[in-house]
Symmetry: C2
Subunit: 395 residues, 2 copies
C-alpha cells in the first residue's frame, strides 16, 4: 500500500519547513520575528471587511466559476490603469496566485514538458512542478548583480527541446529584482524564437522602489498570445488570507481552458471575492502610502544587514524580500539553530534558508530569504538579534 | 504554440456545460428553475455570517496550511459524534471537496494509475482524473436497482493491474444511493484483497431519508489505514460559496503528504474557516430540520416525476439528486432545447444531462440528474414544466 511517488518525492516548502521548530520555540515562550514568510503586518483595508459585512444574502451559493462579474469588471479596470489591456472576459478568478500557477502549468504543459525559470526562483513553484509532472531548468542570476537577467545567449543555453514555458516573477520573489523593458523584450524575443509561452508572476507589481516604473509582460507588443499573468490580491492589499487571485491572458484558447479548469473546481470563495471588489475600488493613494512604507522597510533592513560582519545583501528594487548571504556553512542549520538554541531576551528570528530557492542547492547554501514585512522598529530589532546570533553561532 | 493535450482533451463539466444556453435564455427574460447543480436554496445559518462579522483582525493573514486549530478541533468533535474516530491531527482543511479530491489523487496515484468507481459517478471527478493523469474504470450500478452495489465478483471484474484506489460517493451523487454496512464491508474486503485505498466522498452524510442510518467507511474496523474521507461544509450547511472542505484519514503517512500539499498552496481562506467553526458548533437540531426538508423535497420530486408519461426515476435514499430516464433519444439535446426553445409562461427548467456521469456515455444518454435543491412549490412547478416540455418535444 504505497503512496504516490510524485508526492513522496516532492520536497517540503523551504519557507515553512522550519515551522515545527518555530512552534516548539513558541511553546517555550520565545517571541519570533517572522521574516520567513511574505505575510505583511500592514492593515488589510477596512473596505474589504466592510464589503463582506454588508453583503447580505441568505444562502452563500457558489460564485460563477470564472469569478463574480463585479470582480472581473474592477480587475479589468485596474489592469487598464496599468497599461495592461485585459477585458473582463480575459480573466479567470482563482484561489490565490497558487491556483493561478496550477492552472497555467496544467494548461500549457503536459507531463515531461519543461519550465525554464531563473535561479533563485520562488521555491513554492517546485510543489506545482511535482503536482503537474513538469520538469524545470534554470539560468543563473546573481546576488552581486542584483539578480538582473543574463544575456540572451546565456538564457538560451538552458533551453532544451522539452522547454515549453518561461516562468518569471517580476518583481522577483525572492530576488527583489525588477526587470527593465529591455530585459522583458529579451525574454520576449527568446519566447518567439523558441516558440515558448511566458508565465509572468506579478503579484508584487505595486512594490517598486526608488521611483522606478514597473513594466508588465502584458504591455510588450507582439507577445499577446504568449503571455499569461499570474496575479493575486494577497500582497497588493495585504489580504493573504483571502485566497483570491486571477489569471489574465489575451490568448482566447487559453482562457477557455482556464474556464474549463475553473469549472472543474466549481468556484473561488464568494465572500472573499466580494471583499476584493471593494479593494479594487479604492483610489490609488492606498498604493502610494503602502509603497512608501515598504521602501522605508527595504532601506532599513538593507542598512542593518550591511552593518553585520560578513553579511552581503541585495538591495531590492521591488517586492518585499531581500536575499542575504551569511558567514555560515549552512544557512539551513543556522536558521534552525536560531529557533532551537538562540534568543536575545527571549526573542529570536525566523528566516527562510535559500537552498530551496535554487535548482543547484549548493549555490544558495549560505543564503537566506528575508521578508521585510514588519515595521522598521521590529526589523531593526530582528537584525540586531540576527547579528548577535551570527556572533554566537560562529563561536 | 500548442496548449497541453491533457487539458485540451478534458471534457467540460456535464453540470455546467449548458450554462451559456441558460445565460442566453435569461437574457431573453426567461426564468430558469436550476435543477442542474447542487446549489441548495436553504439558508446558510446566521452563525456563519455572524462569526465572520465578529472576527476582528486588522490584517487578514494566511491561515495555517493545515487549517485553523479551532476548525480542526470542532471538525474532530463532529466526526466523533458520527462514530468516526478522527483527531484534529488526522485532518487537513481544504478549499472544498474539490481540492480534497485533488489532494487524494495526487497523494495516492501516480500518472497512469487507475481509479475504480461506480457508474454513474459524480461527473466532476473526471476533471481531476485529467488534471492528475490517472485513468479510471467503472463497475455498473442500475437505476432499476436504486443503484445498489453489485456483487464482489462483478466489482472485481473491473479491477486491473493498474487499479490503486476505489472512489465512491456515499450518499451517492448522482445516484442518491446510501450504502449499507454490508456493502461497505464488501468494498473493504476487495480493498484488502487487492491492496487498494478507498476514497469515500461523504459530503452528503447528513442527507439520509426514511429513517435510515448512515454508515461511514471510517467506522468499518480494519480499514483505518486504507480509508480517506473527502468532506465539505458546502452541502451540510448550505454554504457552497465558502469553499471549505477537509480530508480525514488515520494513515499518518498520508496525512503528512496532505500537509505537504496544503503547504504548497499556502492556506485555505481564513474568514470562511472562521465561519465554518461556528457552523460546527451549532446543535444537531439544525441537521434534523434540514433533513426533513430534503426528505419532503425528495418525496415531492419523485411523485411528480413518476406522474409524467414515460419517465422513470430512482427514489433517492440520500443526498439531493435523483436520476431520471426520459422518453427522449438524447437528454443532452432535450435539455438544451428546454433552455433555447421552450417555456411555460416565460419559465423553463435546467437539468444536467447524465451521459457525462457515465464512462460508457450511451448508458446515460436518455437520463438526466435533477437536484432537488428548491422548495416543494418550485419543484412542482419545475416538474410541471418538464412534463409539458416532454409533450411538446415529442411532437
Amino acid at each position: 500500500m504505497k503512496l504516490s511517488k510524485r508526492m513522496t518525492e516532492m520536497p517540503y516548502s523551504a519557507i515553512r519547513k522550519l515551522t515545527p521548530y518555530a512552534v516548539a520555540a513558541k511553546e517555550k515562550g520565545k517571541k519570533i520575528y517572522h521574516l520567513n514568510i511574505g505575510a505583511p503586518d500592514v492593515r488589510t483595508p477596512d473596505e474589504f471587511y466592510r464589503a463582506i459585512r454588508e453583503y447580505n444574502v441568505s444562502t452563500l451559493t457558489y460564485a460563477p466559476s470564472q469569478g463574480i462579474p463585479e470582480l472581473l469588471e474592477v480587475t479589468s479596470k485596474y489592469y487598464k490603469g496599468k497599461n495592461m489591456d485585459f477585458e473582463p472576459e480575459d480573466l479567470v478568478v482563482t484561489a490565490g496566485g497558487s491556483e493561478s500557477l496550477l492552472f497555467c502549468l496544467l494548461a500549457l504543459c503536459d507531463p515531461g514538458d519543461e519550465v525554464l525559470t531563473c535561479e533563485p526562483f520562488y521555491t513554492n513553484y517546485v510543489s506545482y512542478f511535482y503536482e503537474t509532472g513538469v520538469t524545470f531548468n534554470t539560468f543563473p542570476t546573481k546576488v552581486e548583480e542584483n539578480f538582473k537577467l543574463p544575456s540572451k545567449e546565456d538564457i538560451e543555453k538552458a533551453i532544451t527541446e522539452k522547454t515549453k514555458v518561461i516562468l518569471l516573477s517580476n518583481p522577483g520573489n525572492p530576488t527583489g529584482a525588477v526587470y527593465t523593458k529591455e530585459e522583458l523584450e529579451r525574454i520576449g524575443e527568446i519566447a518567439k524564437e523558441h516558440d515558448l509561452f511566458i508565465i509572468s508572476d506579478e503579484v508584487y507589481r505595486e512594490f517598486i522602489f526608488d521611483g522606478a516604473k514597473f513594466v508588465s509582460f502584458a504591455s510588450i507588443p507582439g507577445l499577446e498570445d504568449r503571455v499569461v499573468i499570474i496575479d493575486s490580491i494577497s500582497k497588493r492589499f495585504s489580504a493573504c488570507g483571502a485566497r483570491i487571485g486571477c489569471v489574465a491572458t489575451k490568448n482566447k484558447d487559453l482562457t477557455s481552458i482556464f474556464i474549463k479548469l475553473a469549472t472543474g473546481r466549481l468556484a473561488a470563495p464568494t465572500l472573499e471575492q466580494v471583499g476584493a471588489v471593494a479593494l479594487y475600488q479604492m483610489d490609488d493613494s492606498y498604493f502610494k502610502e503602502v509603497n512608501e512604507e515598504y521602501q522605508k522597510r527595504r532601506d532599513c533592513i538593507y542598512e542593518e544587514l550591511m552593518k553585520i560582519d560578513g553579511v552581503y545583501a541585495s538591495k531590492s528594487a521591488g517586492a518585499f524580500y531581500t536575499m542575504a548571504s551569511l558567514p555560515v556553512d549552512s544557512a539551513d542549520d543556522f536558521a534552525r539553530w536560531m529557533l532551537e538554541e538562540f534568543d536575545v531576551d527571549g526573542e529570536t528570528v525566523m528566516m527562510a534558508p535559500a537552498a530551496g530557492f535554487y535548482q543547484h542547492e549548493e549555490k544558495g547554501k549560505n543564503q537566506v530569504r528575508l521578508a521585510f514585512v514588519l515595521n522598521c522598529e521590529d526589523l531593526k530589532r530582528a537584525m540586531f538579534i540576527l547579528g548577535e546570533g551570527l556572533k554566537a553561532y560562529q563561536k
